[in-house]
């Protein structure tokens, strides 16, 4: 029984001929970590945004279902949808710099949602914020709560964002390339934190990334996307042993692996690209006719 289930989701930019998301289906069980992998422009971020209800206004959903705990979000009235998503989901964003309001202290930014939307008392929310900051291994939580974002380093800010995501004990977190902007050593710390908190709190995680290395460390299952279409959906074990789809295989071969320098960083061959593009074109033809 999955917590999140996306069924045949298609979306496009309003007025554009081509779809951005082509018949996307995936599921995330409670407590599961699923990776959403693909190159830039493949639509992986879009899916995360669609689930959280924060698609750009220029993008419209054409058809499909997004089931959260059994209820289709797309069929709910907007206010009810926002409430339900706000109560059960959270986001760990990509850029720690722009995700925090520079003119407010950390404390209120972490607790506002709890107090205003979920009706907690200020005291309870503050205590929760303090506990979470300690959980992400911030040494002096009281001090950080009183600081402004610019007084913290990039790594610290990302920790604050991770802590904030877990604040309301969500059932699902969408992590949108949370470590892409970080140094490799900081990335390891942050991934460890995310994995640790996810395990402790039992939260389901939709992990958007282009880095297959990261996927192999954090995720149990993954979906590979090309041009908004899911080309492979399997467990992490099976994928790294033997990816099924030619494009997915090529993506793995292109990924850097310093232990095997001659057989990694291989560019994706044109015939593989042609093949997967043909698949996309066929899907589009079927969509237009059907």
């Amino acid at each position: 029984m999955s917590f999140l289930e996306v069924r045949n989701l298609s979306a496009r930019v309003r007025g554009a001929p081509d779809r951005l998301l082509r018949d996307v289906s995936l599921s995330v069980a409670p407590g599961e970590v699923r990776g959403l992998v693909g190159e830039s422009g493949a639509g992986k971020s879009m899916i995360g945004k669609a689930v959280l209800g924060i698609l750009p206004r220029a993008v419209e959903v054409l058809c499909g279902e997004i089931l959260l705990g059994g209820t289709d979000l797309l069929r709910l009235p907007p206010a009810e949808r926002r409430r339900r998503i706000g109560a059960t989901c959270a986001l760990i964003p990509q850029d720690p710099l722009t995700a925090l309001n520079p003119s407010r202290r950390i404390g209120p930014q972490m607790t506002d949602r709890l107090v205003d939307i979920l009706g907690w008392t200020r005291a309870k929310a503050d205590a929760r914020a303090r506990d979470l900051l300690a959980e992400v291994q911030i040494a002096d939580p009281d001090r950080v709560l009183r600081q402004y974002p610019h007084e913290l380093s990039g790594g610290m800010r990302q920790r604050v964002l991770i802590a904030s995501a877990f604040a309301a004990e969500p059932k699902l977190i969408v992590a949108d390339e949370p470590t892409t902007a970080l140094d490799v050593t900081v990335q390891k710390e942050v991934l460890r934190l995310i994995a640790g908190m996810q395990a402790r709190h039992g939260t389901a995680l939709l992990f958007v990334t282009h880095d297959l290395g990261v996927v192999s460390k954090v995720c149990q299952s993954l979906s590979v996307l090309y041009a908004g279409m899911v080309v492979e959906d399997t467990t992490v074990r099976d994928f790294f042993r033997a990816p099924a789809h030619p494009y997915a295989r090529a993506l793995l071969a292109a990924t850097p692996k310093y232990t095997d320098p001659d057989r990694s960083l291989v560019p994706v061959a044109q015939d593989v690209l042609d093949g997967v593009q043909a698949q996309v074109d066929a899907a589009d033809r079927g969509w237009r006719n059907g």
């Binding site: 309003r14 554009a16 081509d18 779809r19 190159e39 639509g43 993008v59 090309y226 041009a227």
Partner: protein
């Protein structure tokens, strides 16, 4: 991979056409006023005072928008008033733009002592209250077209300079500027070849806005009788006169007011429309 980026097209053209159309009409009116005005704008005829516009009762043929309390044709006066408005807009706007943009570019890109001197100059200059400044200037130099133009330039160049400086600073931090330096381009060359094209859209918008402001400033000055010294009609002057007879002859106030409004609006939309149409990045 083909994806959704770059598929959203912009609706361009309409506001550019409308604003450019109106302003072209005005320009033609200004140039051809003596020949296309139906009546002499200065000719008074007290027997024909306060005639209403052509679609109302009690009008005389040939006075399309009616007459004022001295019997002067409103339409002809508006057409002649266009000359002052357009001259001030184009001349004052352009001079302000050139001075402000050049100083802003130099300050924003060259930085160092050039920036310090120019920025301090702007700060001190902007500390003078603008309206008093212009009134003082005109009181000293005497009224006239060039006094108005000078007053506008003297006050508004700082606004240009500040905005252009900020833009130039932002562009100066870009890697393509560093790339030009690595290629061996000198500072002045970099400013003109690399920075200017990227600051030009802002300058154009500011220029057209400035022209609109110039028209308003002229109207205000003629409203308070500090504008040109001759009897030539101005929109502001007509509005001032129309104010006193607004209950008996509303058309004397309303028509120059509408013309003024449409003109200022057209200037601002022209800038935006030009930017939309010609900026390669936005197309």
């Amino acid at each position: 991979m083909r994806d959704g980026r770059g598929q959203v097209r912009r609706k361009v053209g309409l506001r550019l056409w409308l604003s450019a159309g109106w302003l072209t009409l005005l320009l033609l009116a200004a140039l051809l006023a003596p020949w296309i005005s139906p009546k002499d704008p200065l000719a008074q005829d007290l027997f024909l005072g306060r005639l209403p516009p052509f679609w109302m009762a009690g009008t005389e043929p040939g006075y399309w928008l009616g007459t004022d309390s001295l019997g002067r044709d409103v339409l002809s006066r508006i057409l002649h008033g266009t000359r002052v408005a357009m001259t001030v807009a184009l001349v004052a706007g352009t001079i302000t733009c050139v001075i402000g943009a050049v100083l802003g570019l130099l300050a924003g890109f060259l930085r160092g002592w050039v920036d310090i001197v120019i920025s301090r100059l702007i700060d001190i200059w902007m500390a003078f209250p603008p309206v008093l400044f212009s009134i003082l200037l005109i009181a000293v130099i005497g009224p006239g077209l060039w006094s108005i133009i000078l007053a506008i330039v003297v006050i508004d160049w700082t606004r240009f300079a500040r905005v252009v400086r900020a833009e130039a600073m932002g562009q100066g931090a870009m890697d393509y500027v560093a790339s030009a330096q690595v290629a061996g381009r000198g500072r002045m060359g970099t400013m003109l070849v690399e920075i200017l094209p990227n600051v030009l859209p802002t300058i154009i918008v500011l220029l057209t806005l400035e022209m609109g402001i110039a028209v308003i400033v002229e109207a205000i000055l003629s409203f308070v009788n500090l504008s040109i010294s001759t009897d030539d009609p101005t929109w502001g002057g007509m509005i001032a006169e129309g104010r006193t007879s607004v209950h008996q002859a509303w058309w004397v106030l309303v028509f120059p007011l509408i013309t003024l409004f449409l003109t200022v609006l057209s200037f601002s939309q022209l800038g935006e429309g030009l930017k939309d149409r010609f900026d390669p990045v936005l197309r």
